[in-house]
């Protein structure tokens, strides 16, 4: 069955291309596909009609309950017959109807046939939902057309919105139903239908979706509006197939859920009301297609009531009527399409004496209309007879008034049938005859075939009965006697009397002028169309209202909203559900207290400072104190890294700050705004603190790291933190160093790239258009004077000679010269000892970077270039490459990625050296960190210092 769906969709995709060569013959190609589906289905008819089923399953995402499950049973077979049979007829008819956009329309119609086929054989709720929405999308595209007017677009949008919104509601119902049943397989749910709990609510939601799709009051308006679509689309989607999806779903679920309140009440009230109201409205329409559309709404109401009520006879009546309706309604649409095509109008006030000119078409129309009026011996009569029988004899609450409504609806059906035939074909006084041309035989043939089938299935009622009772037999036969079988003659039964009574509808039609006067005085039904428009306008206005109030453009305000939400929602939950806080110590070691005081004082000071530099230094103090807290908590690695990072951050911020104003831009702050900000900040802080205490108190189980502690020996090291970084969770580290590299590239781009060109750093900062220009001029004079008397003669640092004399300090140069190699050695020591002691790639890399920072601060840019004579990007890239290669190399040897292998080498004099391959990973991290910092230095400190030599002092 999946194959057939794919065949439909594949051919549909190919049709637009084929059209170029085949022209109109493409419709023949298209018609072959549903014919194949039809043939396949009838080949399975034997076992299926005996109560069996053909199933097909393909696991898709079993863990989510998603399965491509298909199942063809009696009801599915009938629906496939309707979808495929009418599909073939409509595609054949379309060959004469469409003049342009052939490829698109053919492809879409065939795609629709495919998804509709999928819908009726789907055996999984989600799969059904998928096809359900795809039919809505196909309907949208077919109504909207290409290059048609706003009327089409609006109708398409309305059909899409109503059916898709209904579909979403239905999906919710499906989920609730599936959860209650413990499975999403339709046949399993129906084999053991769940009861109680959320099931009634789920059923109501599913019914809403079905009602929207099948155009039940008050969700019916999209269907008449959709009549702007081409007639083949109306005949297929909006009469025979798509609108039957809701009916099909009701029919599918009714055997399992008809007894669950309020299912039966809902389907009876909504269905029968729709039947009467739709038929009544059809009597007032003058556009033949809209007349038929209201007729369709009315018939769909009848189908919902019959198939939903949940008794055997009613179900039999339902499937018979379903079959009959598909045949006669699509035939009638085709007839109206031909009338429209030949006469140029389908307004019954402008049509006259068409029947006399086109007797053949009139015959076809009468055949179809007779079935619609439920006259014997047409198949429509079989359905109506069974329907009366069901409502007369089946015992369910309220069957008396249901019978009355059914009779009234059937009577009105006869009336609007008469109106349709009269409107299309009769001569009308005062209206000129249209004198249409005779249509091509092939144009009429599909309609004739469908109308003829309506007669044939009625005459050959035993065969029809065989096709339909397979579904009806899902219900147990209740009451005595033999179960009801469809037949043209049951004797003089009350049902036959009621059928005869409906012929009074002809009198209603005859009295149409008086009726119009009466109906003009009757109160009108609430206008669903207006409600839909009002809802749409309200939605747009609501969206604008919300946007205006939430999107004010101020970042601090947005952030405030986010933070207030964080405090208000999880905070409220915390307050309500927090356990009592007993056993929380004031401190674990008294040493924490002085450090806490330092951290808090410095942090508060950072918020108060007006000078940028002071604020930065105070923030640095916070960082160092936090590092000390790390030591207290047994995290030397962390403390080391924190300490190094803090120093680097300070240096880089100060390097950038040199070029910015020393004080913050004084902001005009309303005291109220400041107080609000402080309140939000305190609330967030309080929330985080409370959350931390409560969350840490809730810890019960052992940490995952117990296993890390136990197995650290396998990594060939002793430092568990380092082992986690380079071995246990090396993939995380790989991701993090990549992020680091990306940020450094971002920084370099932001600083160096100036309006599309790579700016020379000097011009960017010193002579830039808005740079601190006034300061640069005196500087140059100072520089020239300085060189003459204060330049050091010794060259301790190779590149330092490039700097101005006043900026140099011999003492610093000596210290830097002496320290640099030692610091680099220290960094290597940290790198290699990281497996055993605090250290590792991050710490080592940071130390090495600091060594280069020292050279830069003291010796300047040129000296840094001599100290590290490679492009920083190459260093960083090499680091990332090394780490990645080390990580992926084990794959080549059949191990998982990032596996590390210990090895041992004998070095002369040193002896045996133990190492693991993860050391190379760590070296990669080291190189990357060095490269990133060099790149940052080049970006942030690359410019010549225009101001006083703040760099040398700022660094210390």
């Amino acid at each position: 069955m999946l194959g057939l769906v794919v065949l439909h969709l594949g051919c549909a995709a190919a049709l637009p291309v084929l059209t170029r060569w085949l022209g109109r013959a493409v419709w023949a190609v298209a018609a072959v596909v549903p014919l194949a589906a039809l043939g396949w289905a009838f080949a399975q008819a034997g076992p299926v009609l005996d109560g069996g089923a053909v199933t097909e399953r393909l696991a898709w995402a079993p863990a989510l309950g998603l399965e491509l499950a298909f199942r063809l049973d009696g009801l599915g077979l009938l629906m496939v017959a309707v979808v495929g049979g009418v599909g073939v007829a409509v595609l054949a008819y379309s060959a004469y109807y469409f003049r342009r956009d052939t490829g698109r329309e053919a492809g879409l119609l065939l795609a629709f046939a495919g998804v509709m086929f999928g819908l009726v054989v789907a055996d999984n709720l989600f799969l059904l939902y998928l096809f359900w929405e795809l039919t809505s999308v196909a309907s949208f595209l077919l109504i909207a057309g290409r290059g048609r007017g706003p009327e089409h677009r609006r109708a398409a949008e309305q059909a899409l919105l109503v059916t898709v919104a209904g579909g979403l509601v239905m999906l919710l119902g499906f989920v609730m139903l599936g959860q209650a049943a413990g499975t999403y397989t339709l046949s399993e749910i129906l084999a053991d239908p769940p009861r109680g709990g959320l099931v009634p609510a789920a059923l109501v939601l599913v019914l809403v979706g079905a009602f929207a799709k099948s155009a039940q009051y008050p969700l019916h308006n999209w269907l008449p509006a959709a009549m702007v679509a081409p007639t083949p689309v109306s005949a297929y989607l909006h009469a025979a197939a798509m609108v039957k999806a809701g009916v099909y779903l009701v029919a599918r679920l009714a055997p399992g859920f008809a007894e669950v309140a309020p299912w039966r009440e809902l389907v009876l009230v909504v269905g029968l009301f729709t039947m009467v109201a739709g038929a009544w409205q059809a009597l007032k329409e003058t556009d033949l297609k809209r007349l038929l559309a209201y007729g369709t709404i009315s018939e769909l109401g009848l189908l919902i009531a019959l198939l939903g009520v949940g008794t055997r006879t009613a179900a039999l009546a339902g499937v018979l009527t379903l079959l009959a309706h598909a045949l006669f309604k699509s035939a009638l649409f085709m007839v109206v399409g031909i009338v429209d095509h030949q006469c140029g109008t389908r307004d019954l006030r402008e049509l006259s004496r068409v029947g006399a000119a086109l007797p053949g078409l009139l015959t076809v129309a009468l055949l179809a209309a007779a079935s619609m009026a439920k006259l014997p011996p047409f198949v429509g009569f079989l359905g109506e007879d069974a329907g009366f029988e069901a409502f007369l004899h089946d015992a369910f609450a309220g069957h008396g008034w249901a019978l009355a409504a059914l009779t009234a609806g059937s009577l009105l059906t006869v009336a609007y049938t008469a109106r349709a035939v009269w409107g299309a074909f009769a001569g009308k006084p005062g209206v000129a005859a249209n004198g249409p041309q005779r249509p091509a035989a092939g144009f009429v043939a599909p309609a004739a075939a469908l109308a003829g089938l309506g007669l044939a299935t009625g005459l050959a009622y035993p065969a029809t009965a065989a096709l339909t009772t397979a579904y009806a037999d899902l219900y147990p036969h209740s009451g005595g006697g033999t179960p009801y079988e469809p037949a043209l003659w049951h004797g003089l039964t009350p049902a036959l009397g009621l059928s005869a009574l409906t012929l009074l509808g002809l009198a209603v039609h005859a009295a149409r002028d008086r009726l119009a006067a009466v109906s003009a005085r009757l109160p009108r039904l609430p206008d669903g169309e207006r409600a839909y428009r009002a809802a749409l306008v309200g939605l747009f206005q609501g969206a604008v209202w919300v946007t205006r109030r939430t999107q004010v453009g101020s970042l601090p305000l947005y952030l405030t909203v986010v933070l207030v939400t964080v405090v208000a929602l999880p905070g409220a939950a915390l307050l309500l559900a927090a356990p009592p806080l007993d056993g929380v110590p004031v401190w674990w070691t008294p040493l924490e207290v002085p450090l806490a005081v330092v951290v808090l004082t410095a942090a508060v000071a950072a918020t108060l400072m007006r000078s940028r530099l002071t604020a930065v230094l105070v923030t640095g103090a916070v960082g160092y104190a936090v590092a000390a807290l790390f030591v207290l908590h047994g995290a030397p690695d962390l403390a080391l890294t924190q300490f190094l990072v803090e120093s680097l951050t300070l240096v880089i911020i100060v390097l950038v700050l040199r070029r910015m104003p020393t004080r913050f831009t004084p902001a005009e702050q309303a005291p109220r705004a400041r107080r609000l900000r402080a309140a939000v900040a305190l609330a967030v802080g309080g929330f985080v603190a409370a959350f931390a205490v409560v969350a840490s108190q809730a810890r019960r189980g052992e940490g995952v790291s117990v296993e890390y502690l136990r197995r650290v020996g396998e990594t060939g090291g002793e430092n568990v933190v380092n082992a986690i970084i380079v071995d246990f969770r090396a993939l995380d580290t790989l991701g993090e160093i990549s992020v680091l590299l990306v940020t450094s590239i971002g920084v370099a781009s932001l600083v160096r790239v100036w309006r599309g060109a790579v700016a020379e750093p000097a011009s960017a900062a010193g002579a830039g258009p808005r740079g601190p220009g006034p300061r640069a001029a005196p500087q140059r004079g100072e520089e020239t004077r300085a060189v003459s008397w204060d330049a050091p003669h010794e060259r301790w640092l190779p590149g330092a000679g490039d700097r101005a004399g006043t900026e140099r300090s011999v003492l610093m140069e000596v210290v830097a010269r002496l320290l640099f190699p030692s610091v680099v050695v220290l960094s290597l020591f940290l790198l290699f000892s990281g497996h055993y002691r605090p250290g590792g790639g991050f710490a080592g890399g940071l130390v090495a970077a600091l060594a280069f920072v020292l050279r830069f601060l003291v010796g300047g840019r040129a000296d840094l270039g001599l100290a590290a004579p490679v492009d920083p990007a190459v260093v960083a890239g090499a680091g990332l490459t090394l780490a990645t290669v080390t990580g992926t190399l084990p794959l080549a040897f059949g191990s998982p990625a990032l596996t590390s292998t210990p090895w041992e080498v004998h070095v002369p004099l040193v002896g045996a050296v133990h190492a693991t391959t993860s050391l190379f990973f760590d070296i990669g991290v080291y190189l990357l960190v060095v490269g990133v910092v060099l790149k940052l230095l080049a970006a942030s400190g690359g410019a010549r210092v225009p101001a006083r030599p703040a760099s040398g002092r700022g660094g210390r």
Binding site: Q541, V622, T641, I653, V721, I724, T743, F842
Partner: protein, 145 residues
């Protein structure tokens, strides 16, 4: 029980408060400092919720470790990489502030004018859908000539 002590909770809360306070200001440089303080708060939080102070998680070879003796190494590893990432993001923010200063002469975040324009879209354009055409005069299907 591995609960947090009040002093550390206070420190973490204080860091978050001051960080948020600075982050809510319009000066990008202040926001940057706020970000750094928030970062300190978050890293410290990661570490201290791991448990009370204990020995550094360095296990000598061959020893069968008692997890109660050692500090939890996993939060440490997480915080370690978090510190380095915070550094990277800090420099990125700094570059943003610097560029904003270069371009506009100050480093204040400005209100987004486009956002305001969206809010007043209703006044500037007719957002209501056009009224529906009369229902009894639908347009013709494709087949009409």
């Amino acid at each position: 029980m591995k609960t947090l002590d009040l002093t550390m909770a206070l420190v973490v809360g204080g860091l978050f408060s001051t960080g948020v306070y600075l982050l809510l200001q319009r000066s990008l440089m202040r926001a940057l400092l706020g970000f750094i303080l928030l970062g300190h708060g978050a890293n410290l939080l990661l570490l201290v919720v791991g448990g009370p102070p204990a020995a550094p998680p360095i296990v000598a070879g061959g020893e069968s470790p008692d997890p109660r003796v050692y500090a939890d190494p996993l939060p440490q590893a997480m915080a370690l990489t978090a510190i380095v990432i915070t550094f990277g993001v800090t420099t990125f923010l700094l570059a943003l502030a610097y560029r904003s200063w270069l371009l506009s002469g100050h480093d204040e975040t400005q209100d987004d004018v486009e956002d305001r324009r969206i809010g007043t879209a209703a006044e500037r354009a007719d957002v209501e859908p056009a009224p529906a055409a009369r229902p009894d005069t639908p347009e013709r299907g494709e087949g009409d000539r």
